[in-house]
Symmetry: C2
Subunit: 149 residues, 2 copies
Amino acid sequence: MDLIFDDAYFMRKALDEANYAYEKGEIPVGVVIVIKQQIIARGHNLTEMLNDVTAHAEMQAITAAANFLGGKYLKDCTMYVTLEPCQMCAGALYWSQLSNLVFAASDHERGYRKFGGQLHPKTKVKNGIMEEEASKLLKRFFIERRNLN
Amino acid sequence: MDLIFDDAYFMRKALDEANYAYEKGEIPVGVVIVIKQQIIARGHNLTEMLNDVTAHAEMQAITAAANFLGGKYLKDCTMYVTLEPCQMCAGALYWSQLSNLVFAASDHERGYRKFGGQLHPKTKVKNGIMEEEASKLLKRFFIERRNLN
């Protein structure tokens, strides 16, 4: 069976990353960055483990992708992320001039669209890919955390 | 002579950092983070050297301060930065719940106030401290860079 390298394929890889975050007790958000159907960076939220508010999945992946490419601009790259980026990550993506952003779940509270951040005018955006799976994982995390407190 | 630990004192330290950036050919922005009149983190822009759009002075200092404090929130901290933060850095400061932000020069193009980012509601903001010195350094950098191209 041939693998089909479509949005769902790469979003599943981002969901794998979100699951790694979940297993570590982190808010489960995962990301991959793809160029020419090749994953060049992966990341998952590590804010608790690293004690660092800047350690969002997207921020780590932006740094890793730039490192792979040897340049700081993510032209021709697509980021797949399981949750709508916050204003910090949108700001980083703005500077990176990312070509395509695909996110799964919307973040109606802290997502950049509601909160006032903006992407680069060149960045094309798609959302809702595997939204249900991404949302379910986030909800499970927050319900379990609430029950612990 | 007693040293007076006022805003100008700490902004001068941030300007020292901006000068380090300038000497490295980086857009000259510098920052210090202070708690109880003690500098716990310093940083200057390193986006070119690190090939990383996330390597703004503020982002590095937020990570360093959290590392020093052993926790990710910058409560009771004051950040002194020579230029108004962009939306990415404002977003990081939002998550950090920084208590006080003091910046020198305004950024009328990419600063968070114009661009749409927002700080944490608990963050108090002051600006204009040593604005002339900070602006002069930035202008010098951009004029020199233009002449090189």
